[in-house]
Symmetry: C2
Subunit: 344 residues, 2 copies
DNA sequence: CGTTAGCACTCATCGCCTTGGAGTGCTAAC
DNA sequence: GTTAGCACTCCAAGGCGATGAGTGCTAACG
């Protein structure tokens, strides 16, 4: 950092917090009046001019106060926003909501985003997990008409996902039962991907030579694994309406852009997927997302799943003027509860 | 009708069609210029004044042209909008889309609203069916952990719905198999409700005296029937973004109201459920819905299911200034294709 | 008697200007 | 280094008049 003095830092912090609170550009006068500042407006103007030069602040127009740039928010998030306490009411609500939800994966995720949408004035978002990475307790196949098969995948926490798919040949329920027994015998603490790998290894190792059962289970899994419910690659949103309450989105054009991003989902999914391996919590501020439509939005997301086995990301989307110090711990907490619910 | 002359009717029709096309209030001058009118603006003004008095037209302000009232649109829809042809491209798209979708109920419905959202500049909407009214081919129970059971309900058209629920006591898979065999033996051309009734009748008739199996299947069904996936009572929307393109929704406040109605769903569900028994197609114009938030919107919906067995309603929500003559046959067609897909 | 031309009137919209106020940068004094 | 003062910029809001679309009314016309 361009060797910011403590004074610079304090001013930056004050500007950011003021702006987060009011949504108005903050001027030297207001700042001087805020408690804890013994400096005159003129001095503050100098300091703020410095901060503008460094790129942390900017002015909407010449004679307005300053607002933080994305960089300014970034500095604030990285260095200035101490983790605040999560109100116990919010904690309780999160826990209750997630304990109440039935075991279907979608229901749990939905409850997660719903809770976020209710606890914050922003949009709750969650990416659907790649089921192939989940530790699976057992799989069951149910024959429907013709080639259609319903797979019921029960993951570690009792989470259930069912997937409809087709097999290449018509299989009887008996056959399906044998397949699923076989698959289940392989499942220990393995993920679906792990199972697949194991099958392939055993085949390659030629331990048992060519095995009819092997081949057919493999063929079946191939089809199963291609279904989008297994692949993930979708996001769920809730509380879009919340955004309409924020003055910065009063502009119809801007609103349209963002809602378009919400509807398409691809953009958001991409941002969520950008999360680095092993990164628990992530804040993407404004243009950091490199998505034009979301350049006025920030995302606070956390990975859910379990250590080393990330299933997806959950968090909120809001204006860059977001109450980071409140939201960050909240999202983090929710992700933890969700993780427990899904994998314990 | 207040004995409208053919002239009155022709003028009303012209005003409505003009307004639907342009979205602007239409004045006497523009009307006089439109082909087929040999009358002077002055005469038209008199006619329009009559129509205003009767309540079919109104003026946004004193010196603007006329726009149709809800009543005006109603008259137009009832008497003046001849059923137009559905472009074969649209027909093809609808058929292809619905044939492509896999057999899950939700997927089919989703494809339905998606298609509407793509073929029209409005919002596609569908109410989830009450599964109790569907003719069911068979039911299968799968035991999960503890008391949890997954019911797989396969309806007539191969549609699959799965429902997670809990039983009062822990049941083995064997027991569940017996139950489902028993249930399936009862299912002929019966709806779920029908099955329930039959069970109750047989019990009441005391044909077999007290039967353990009976009782337990009944208890199980009770729990199953309470699940929301079975009950229906939800709506699915798509293409909300389309509405943003319409000038009448450029106003943020109005937009908010409508989106709120979309998010809550209760309002919309209520309107859809208001459909009269046996009514195939329905047009609700503006305030006819008695829902404040939707007073600027019209709904065109059609029942899907099969004759005498309505499963739900599917259609579009748009501004009262909607292209009724195009939309009505379109929605009707889609409902028919959906019905076939679901029940044949 | 229905139709039409003419006219005075209304009202939203637009551009233009003014005013007020908030905030800035700069300079000079402390 | 800090601060007071001042000239300056610029947005927002309000007033004003011109414009133009459209109306209702009346009187003349065929």
């Amino acid at each position: 950092m361009e060797n910011l003095s403590t004074r610079h830092v304090r001013v930056l912090q004050a500007v950011v917090e003021n702006y987060i609170r009011t949504g108005e550009p903050v001027g030297s006068r207001t700042l001087a009046r805020s408690p804890g500042f013994k400096l005159s407006p003129a001095t503050l103007r100098n300091v703020m001019a410095d901060l503008e030069e460094y790129g942390y602040l900017c002015q909407p127009h010449t004679s307005a106060g300053r607002i933080p740039t994305d960089l300014g928010f970034r500095f604030y998030v990285n260095h200035l926003s101490g983790p605040s306490e999560i109100p116990s009411a919010a904690q309780r609500k999160i826990r209750e909501r997630l304990e109440m939800s039935d075991g279907r994966l979608e229901e749990i995720l939905h409850d997660g985003v719903l809770t976020l949408a209710q606890l914050t004035p922003y949009v709750g978002v969650v990416s659907l997990p790649d089921f192939r990475r989940m530790v699976v307790r057992h799989i069951r196949f149910v024959k429907l008409a013709g080639h259609r098969i319903l797979a019921i995948i029960v993951a570690l926490g009792g989470t259930v996902q069912n997937v409809l798919f087709e097999s290449d040949t018509e299989l009887s329920q008996d056959q399906l039962n044998r397949y699923s027994n076989y698959l289940n015998s392989l499942l220990g603490e393995l993920t679906l991907n792990g199972v697949k790998r194991k099958i392939l290894e055993e085949m390659a190792g030629d331990k048992r030579g060519y095995d009819e059962l092997f081949a057919q289970v493999l063929a079946l899994s191939q089809n199963l694994f291609q279904q989008k419910e297994v692949l993930g690659g979708d996001v769920m949103l809730d509380g879009k309406l919340n955004l309409l309450e924020h003055p910065e989105f009063a502009d119809v054009e801007r609103m349209k852009e963002i809602f378009k991003a919400f509807e398409e989902k691809g953009t958001i999914l991409k941002i969520l997927d950008d999360a680095l391996e092993g990164e628990q919590l992530r804040v993407v501020i404004g243009s950091e997302s490199h998505a034009r439509e979301l350049r006025h939005c920030s995302l606070v997301t956390a990975a859910y799943g379990r250590p080393g086995e990330v299933l997806g990301q959950v968090g909120v989307i809001g204006p860059t003027r977001m109450d980071y110090s409140r939201i960050i711990p909240l999202v983090n907490y929710l992700a933890n509860v969700m993780s427990q619910r899904l994998t314990s």
